[in-house]
């Protein structure tokens, strides 16, 4: 029995349509957090994506506790963004060192929590990309490099972001796009932030272990 042209065309069309529907309604929300029809939210599939994105590099349970001879720091800082202004704040973390964070903005902001490895094996790894007023979580650095946030104010009023972090980071810097009048173009200015060494610790000395 040989299929007719009509049967083949119909079969191919059905295959494409079924695959597209499944892709858009189920696979895209679950795998990539893209939810064009809102089905991911309705079915709760989008949670799969956000659970993976918040903590992409959590080590397996048997490696959950690692004694790290390093200074533990805490910082609370705030920034103000003018309408349509964007900037980044990053912490330097070595591979497998952890950081706990929480931030809150006075209005909705676009943000991307991401890391840039020192060895440039990849340019940037995104941990979380959304539009929201606050976020919090724990990061275990998947590689040595700078890890932090890009924030953008999409509104028409000033927004203040307050960020609190603690962890084993060694430096912090602010990346602000500024206009260079001499070269007549925008450039990224790296502004280091001074981090306080907490009382009882001296820099680069291991934490005493009980």
């Amino acid at each position: 029995m040989t299929p007719t042209r009509k049967q083949i065309a119909k079969a191919t069309a059905v295959a494409i349509i079924v695959a597209t529907v499944l892709l858009v309604t189920i696979v895209l929300p679950a795998e990539y957090g893209a939810d064009p029809l809102g089905t991911g939210k309705a079915l709760g599939l989008i949670d799969l994506f956000s659970a993976g994105a918040e903590n992409p590099a959590s080590p397996p349970p048997d490696e959950a506790v690692q004694p790290l001879p390093h200074v533990y720091r805490t910082e609370s800082t705030s920034f103000t963004l003018r309408p349509s202004q964007a900037f980044e704040y990053k912490y330097r973390l070595e591979k497998d060192r952890g950081m706990v964070y929480a931030w809150k903005a006075t209005a909705r902001v676009k943000y991307e929590f991401h890391g840039e490895p020192d060895d440039h094996r990849l340019k940037v790894q995104s941990y979380e990309k959304q539009e929201h007023e606050f976020a919090s979580g724990t990061l275990t650095a998947p590689f040595t490099g700078i890890h932090g946030w890009y924030w953008e104010n999409p509104g028409d009023r000033d927004v203040t972001i307050t960020l609190t972090t603690s962890g084993f980071y060694t430096a912090a810097e602010e990346l602000r796009p500024t206009f260079d009048p001499i070269k007549h173009k925008n450039r990224i200015e790296h502004v280091p932030h001074e981090l306080k060494v907490p009382a009882g610790f001296t820099d680069d000395k291991p934490i005493a272990r009980r």
Binding site: P3, T12, V14, A15, E31, Y32
Partner: protein
């Protein structure tokens, strides 16, 4: 009812594509295995062979393609011939890719692998004969897609910086494992197909099943292409 058969088989195929654990499937090696690979020092023949076989058996994209390839092969001689061509193809690019350090984007490679499933399923329902008025050289196609499947394997192995010491032994072991896994999976598929061919209405089932295979292939292509465009 062809429609009901199609619905049932494509539900199974698509469920496999969607629900198969990501760690086991198209995107590489499970986390524990990954840690093992990174701590590797020197040649480890048996573990690498095991990982190769495991990759082949749990990687539904390779399996869907092979099911398509052997679907209408009745004689064992033909099965051996086509599977050998596929093996030669993917061995060349697996060895060459890893040793030559050639890296391809895994999403694009996996999209081509998904397309190979679409191609074979379309061929199986006589799509090329009826629409193009020609029959593409099936052996050449299997060899060519074998090359792409090997590239996919190579790219996944290269995600782990394997130590240079014992590299060749390790890749060859992985490749041998892939072949063992392929033989095991094929044996199961062949047995099922052989039995199925003796049942009445095989031709009708065959059309619905290949349409379902094609659906799975399109879904693989869509998923990998979305990954390419949406992931940073």
């Amino acid at each position: 009812m062809t429609a009901a058969r199609y619905a049932f088989v494509s539900a199974v195929v698509c469920a496999a594509v969607v629900l198969w654990p990501e760690t086991l499937a198209a995107h590489g090696v499970a986390r524990g295995d990954a840690r093992f690979l990174q701590t590797l020092q020197g040649a480890a023949v048996a573990p690498l062979m095991y990982l190769g076989a495991k990759h082949m058996i749990t990687g539904y994209d390779h399996l869907l393609f092979l099911v398509g390839v052997i679907f209408f092969l009745h004689r064992l001689k033909d099965v051996v011939l086509y599977v050998t061509l596929f093996t030669v193809g993917h061995s060349v690019t697996l060895l060459g890719g890893v040793l030559g350090g050639i890296r391809a984007n895994p999403y694009l490679i996996d999209a081509v692998i998904g397309f190979s499933v679409v191609y074979k399923a379309f061929d199986n329902i006589d799509g090329f004969k009826r629409f193009g008025g020609f029959q593409p050289n099936a052996r050449l196609a299997v060899l060519a897609f074998g090359l792409f499947h090997g590239f996919g394997l190579a790219t996944k192995l290269q995600d782990f910086s394997l130590p240079p010491h014992g590299l060749v032994a390790n890749i060859v072991s992985f490749n041998v494992g892939v072949e063992i896994g392929q033989v095991l999976a094929l044996a199961a598929v062949l047995l099922a197909l052989e039995y199925w061919r003796t049942r009445p209405g095989f031709a009708q089932h065959a059309f619905a099943t290949n349409t379902a295979l094609m659906t799975g292939g399109f879904l693989l292509v869509g998923r990998q292409l979305s990954g390419y465009f949406l992931s940073t």
